[in-house]
């Protein structure tokens, strides 16, 4: 149980505005962490900074104890993978080619393809169950298949840390479950450490070991789903009046919003 990824008094801003405000976070190896919070709370910004896509205004991100912006970007890319929200592929790109591009950090200019690369691509396609789609182009896939293809690319990168920014965006509920089941399988069978931003609190409760609730660029609560997802927290963080009951399937907290037309007696 070691800390793999760490934010230490991390501040990030766009122009004058500070989006993440001296935030501390430790991601323990082998866990699934979900970051939740209302729109604009800085959760995607935090994830980007953890994946060194955004520079820190002050403070630092540490990967295995080393300051991430002082490491060679290629070295980082062999350990830490990141999938942004709703990525787009060029038209006509096949699934196999997309997944193969995940091998970039392992390739040199003069050695574009090796048997290791081929094995990693095959394994990634196998893992996500889309081997039979390898020769299809990404743009002809359904939303759920497309997300699997992108996750395969991140898997082919061969990193044991994976950051996912809203991996379920634009998917219907069945496909959301499908993608999150896949994420959990990666975690369970391969021991990968996963940090993801999720909008759906009930899915976060079900699929994460650790939940981080953010508001206004700060962490306001973190812990197990049971500790974090309380009626009190929902009111404080989201301004949402809700009841929390037990999920009849998984036993995790289940958030039931009240809404203005359904005042309880």
């Amino acid at each position: 149980m070691s800390v793999r990824l760490e934010a230490s008094s991390l501040s990030i801003g766009y122009g004058e505005r500070l989006v993440v405000d001296s935030l501390d976070l430790s991601v323990i190896g082998g866990t699934v962490t979900a970051v939740i919070g209302p729109n604009g709370c800085g959760k995607s910004t935090l994830l980007k900074a953890l994946g060194r896509l955004l520079p820190a205004r002050s403070g630092a991100v540490l990967l295995d104890g080393k300051q991430i912006d002082r490491m060679a970007t290629r070295d980082v890319a062999r350990v830490l993978g990141m999938l942004p929200q709703a990525p787009s592929a060029p038209e006509g790109l096949t699934v196999a080619d997309l997944v193969a591009r995940g091998r970039h950090p392992h390739q040199a200019w003069y050695r574009q393809w090796s048997s290791d690369d081929a094995a990693a691509v095959d394994a990634a396609l196998e893992m996500t169950g889309i081997s039979d789609l390898a020769d299809r182009t990404v743009d002809e896939l359904s939303g759920g298949q497309r997300q699997r293809a992108w996750i395969s690319m991140a898997l082919a990168q061969g990193t044991d840390l994976l950051l996912l920014d809203e991996p379920t965006t634009y998917l219907d509920l069945a496909h959301q479950i499908d993608v999150l089941d896949l994420v959990q399988e990666l975690h369970a069978s391969m021991g990968r450490t996963i940090v993801m931003v999720l909008h759906d609190l009930n899915l976060a409760a079900r699929y994460a070991d650790h939940i981080v609730a953010m508001r206004g660029g700060r962490i306001v609560a973190q812990g197990t789903p049971g500790e974090v997802l309380t009626e009190r927290m929902l009111l404080d963080v989201f301004g949402l009046d809700a009841r929390v009951v037990e999920d009849p399937v998984a036993g995790t907290p289940l958030v039931v919003p009240v809404g203005s037309r359904h005042r309880l007696p």
């Binding site: 290629r74 830490l80 990141m82 787009s88 970039h104 390739q107």
Partner: protein, 330 residues
């Protein structure tokens, strides 16, 4: 052998055929036996001289310029992720034009050789200015800021060019001749002067291909794959400047080919730049030579410059491409 290797071989064969046609066909009719004679057993007869001194250099320059514009166009569309991007949008062409006009107006330069270095310097300066302007904001050079800076700088330089040629009739006459863009009347020294820059540009382009592949998935994905986005962009823009600058310096502005060629090449290769760049090189050379050959025969005994032919035939072809398939998202 893969489909794409076969395609490359096919294009190579087509290029050789087009080269032979370019040597054999011209405003002066030379029978095939005469062509053979001129190529392999020249005796200094008039036909031999036409072939060795005019048509072969012209063909070689056509290949070089076609390759440069094809690869430059593919790089440009890749870096801007814009299927309508033309290598000229970095201001290279207008920078060269302004430098040529000034060299005519201020220094009285009137020879094609004289223009080469002015055009090349103008292309370089314009590109550097556009790059600095486009990277001045937060986040460094981005496709949008580069395109905007390029458009603004081009407009400014275009205005200056117009001002000079309106002021001075002599500049206008000399400039009009340069501005059409052609490979006729250029001999081998023209090519050898720009060739080193062109070759460096091609080398950088090849080096740029894997990074460009990653960048085509979006900057965030590229960065998380370990690509240094700023360095990759700068390298690509340097390659574009060298390639297009060499082409403009050697032949004047030849529009459209950098826009159309990558679309044709993409139909063979799909969006993998490691294949797209060599295909664009060959398709560029082939299209440029075909346009030049057509220009020699449509108005015999006089000739139409290749820049005009490309526009005449390229535009309908491009409209056909666009209508046949919705414009490719890059």
């Amino acid at each position: 052998m893969g489909r794409r290797s076969l395609g490359l071989l096919f294009l190579l064969v087509v290029l050789v055929a087009v080269c032979l046609a370019s040597i054999a066909i011209g405003s002066k009719e030379i029978p095939l036996s005469g062509v053979w004679h001129g190529l392999f057993t020249p005796t200094g007869a008039e036909d031999d001289v036409v072939i060795r001194e005019l048509r072969i250099p012209r063909t070689l320059i056509g290949i070089a310029v076609g390759v440069a514009l094809g690869v430059g166009g593919a790089l440009m569309q890749g870096h801007t992720r814009n299927p309508l991007a033309d290598p000229g949008i970095l201001g290279v062409t207008h920078g060269a034009a302004l430098a040529v006009v000034l060299s005519i107006f201020l220094l009285g330069v009137t020879s094609l050789y004289g223009y080469i270095w002015f055009a090349f310097a103008g292309a370089m300066i314009a590109s550097v200015v556009v790059f600095l302007l486009g990277s001045a904001g937060r986040g460094g050079p981005s496709p949008v800021t580069l395109a905007l800076a390029g458009a603004a700088v081009s407009a400014l330089m275009n205005g200056l060019v117009s001002a000079v040629v309106l002021l001075d009739q002599q500049s206008l006459d000399a400039f009009r001749f340069w501005q059409v863009g052609g490979i006729a009347g250029r001999d081998l020294p023209v090519l050898t002067q720009v060739l080193p820059f062109l070759l460096i540009g091609l080398g950088l382009a090849a080096f740029n291909a894997p990074g460009l592949n990653a960048l085509s998935l979006g900057e965030d994905v590229a960065r998380s794959l370990g690509v240094k986005v700023g360095a990759t962009r700068s390298l690509g823009i340097l390659a574009i400047t060298l390639l297009v600058g060499s082409a403009v310096a050697a032949c004047g502005p030849i529009g459209f080919i950098g826009l159309v060629v990558p679309h044709v090449a993409r139909a063979f290769t799909g969006p993998d730049y490691r294949w797209l760049l060599p295909f664009s090189a060959l398709v560029g050379a082939i299209l440029l030579l075909i346009a030049d050959i057509l220009g020699r025969v449509v108005a015999r005994p006089s000739e139409v410059e290749v820049g005009v032919m490309i526009a005449l035939f390229g535009a309908p072809f491009f409209i056909y491409l666009v209508r046949r398939k919705k414009l490719v998202r890059i």
